[in-house]
């Protein structure tokens, strides 16, 4: 039987000191340790593959026993969701294409111009503290440390370690994860649960109105002009109360040169708002903005369109930092200043990455939706719990956004 002695205590102390030394070297960054790590990963790979083959039947049996009921329930829910999405897919695709074309036309930043690398998730963290996954693409595919990782639903995490053929991705829920985000207001229709059960989620009247949208884009002979706003060529922006096109000074519709389709007055006004184009006179500008807003409201009440009115309703409310909080806990947004006079942060608001000159995540990646708001005393601002769009428990394929911030590109 083992007997405790001073000699044994020395061995334990020596081992503990060695671990502290290793920890210090690793945290400061050591190429020898990095090489050892990569070498060990290579040695482990065949052992792990063989073990995976042997244990796969056991895993399947276990999953069959424990997950069968959940899978059945989820299958029914997903089928309902698929039915609903099929109906709205066409309208959404048209809106996305139109948005990209407009962004390209006016050189606005867009995610569509950034390359991505699709990778397969090959492993999860084997401890109960870290929220890390391993993917099967590495530096050979152009992946670098810090790059954002997304899936079809939204932000998943960021790359933290890269080898030649694999990389580790820290998930958004990891307590070490932080990213700059902006909170935007969600359209009312996005917050409220749908109250009809049609496959598309739209009422018959809405579907009929959408169907007639294409027919209402016919140019009208003449119309009023939006005061205070001018087109890039200096001519005034024509306005119309119809849902159709904006007319130029010659009475002809303003045509999008990329798509060949006419632009509405609301689209033009939204583009000016996004670009922050100064108007000709400050006194007139206030009236002009109000008038454009009124015109847009009037337009949306008289017709039903799918894309142009949604653009006008999204308001950037506040910027903050999204921080992960570990397993089974929702990420939170901190460093917020709530200004009820401008806009109030509420549950249901949308969250997307804010970007920035040094951020490795480009702007506009959808992250999730505000689920709860917790007010804190003093000037510390509210905390927002965020429900992520991406289901991090079931990741199979992800995309690494091969994006470098402007600060690095310039170097």
């Amino acid at each position: 039987m083992a007997i405790y002695s001073v000699g044994r205590k020395r061995v334990i102390l020596a081992l503990l000191l060695t671990t502290v030394l290793l920890l210090t070297l690793d945290l400061r960054g050591n190429p020898v340790i990095d090489a050892a790590r990569e070498g060990f990963t290579r040695v482990m790979r065949p052992v792990e593959t063989a073990t995976g083959v042997v244990t796969n039947p056991i895993e399947r049996i276990w999953r069959g026993i424990t997950d069968y009921d959940d899978l059945e329930r989820e299958n029914i829910a997903l089928q309902e969701q698929v039915d609903r999405l099929i109906g709205t897919q066409a309208a959404a695709e048209a809106a996305v294409i139109e948005g990209r074309e407009l962004q390209a036309l006016y050189s606005l930043p867009s995610l569509s111009g950034i390359d991505t690398e699709v990778a397969r998730v090959v492993g999860y963290a084997a401890n109960n503290l870290d929220q890390v996954i391993e993917i099967d693409k590495g530096s050979a595919s152009g992946i670098e440390v810090g790059m954002a990782v997304v899936n079809q639903a939204g932000l998943v995490g960021k790359v933290t370690q890269v080898t030649r053929t694999s990389a580790r991705v820290m998930l958004v829920t990891d307590s070490r994860y932080t990213v700059a985000v902006k909170v935007t207001s969600a359209a009312a229709s996005e917050v409220e649960a749908p109250d009809n059960t049609s496959p598309s989620g739209l009422s018959e009247a809405e579907v009929a109105a959408q169907a007639t949208t294409t027919t209402t884009t016919a140019p009208t002979p003449s119309g009023p002009v939006v005061p205070g706003l001018t087109l890039p060529d200096g001519s005034p922006v024509p306005d119309t109360t119809l849902p159709g096109v904006a007319l130029g000074p010659d009475g002809q519709p303003v045509i999008d040169p990329l798509t060949g389709r006419p632009l509405t007055a609301e689209q033009i006004a939204a583009l000016f708002d996004a670009l922050g184009t100064p108007t000709t006179s400050t006194t007139v500008a206030g009236g002009a903005v109000t008038e454009v807003g009124e015109t847009a409201t009037e337009s949306s009440t008289t017709t039903t369109t799918t894309t142009t009115t949604t653009l006008a309703e999204v308001i950037e409310k506040e910027y903050g930092a999204l921080e992960g909080r570990g397993r089974l806990r929702l990420p939170q947004i901190k460093f917020l200043q709530d200004s009820p006079s401008l806009s109030e942060l509420v549950a249901g608001d949308l969250v997307e990455t804010a970007g920035g000159s040094e951020s490795l995540a480009p702007p506009g990646i959808p992250v999730g939706r505000v689920l709860n708001r917790a007010d804190r005393p003093g000037s510390r601002g509210p905390l927002l719990d965020v429900e992520l769009h991406a289901d991090l428990a079931r990741l199979n394929f992800v995309r690494v956004v091969l994006y470098k911030p402007l600060s690095e590109v310039e170097q």
């Binding site: 671990t19 290793l22 920890l23 895993e59 963290a125 084997a126 109960n128 307590s175």
Partner: protein, 178 residues
Amino acid sequence: MFASFVQGPLVRVIPLGLVLLALQRTIFVEIQVGGVIIQIMMAMAAAAGVAGGSERGAIVGFTLGVMFDLAEGTPLGSTATAMTIAGAVGGLLALIAADPHWWLEAIFTALGTAAGVAMIPLLRAFIGESEPFQRQLLVVLAVVAAAAAIMSPVLVPLARWCLRMRRPEWKQPVGETS
């Protein structure tokens, strides 16, 4: 030096560690109990302490921990420290009984494992990680310790094999026979 290495425990611990690590990263990630990943390597370190004493337990724990850190990408030494402590605690607890029953070994293994798992967030806090202590830490400790206790009848003999040890046999003194 080579002879001492070949005759020492490491020549058996490293291959066994590779297999356990592969199991940890495959089947034990999939088979979770209440959302908690069972820590078989930590349990092995504690079992080595129970079987061979605190010194050998610490050596096995250190070896397994370094392997775990290398494979998982966690800061090198963070899990190794926790597993070293798990082995040492398992060995210290085993001093209570000269020849513990299997159920006592199971309890010692469970406690050693729990000590190691509890050390991980503490170490992460030391290296500057924010909020390493999670709300469900107690649940994690309970599940991991219970799993270690269940696995100990297999792990303790396996640790004895690694350490080239045999279960002590108590013989009656010659003079007292008949």
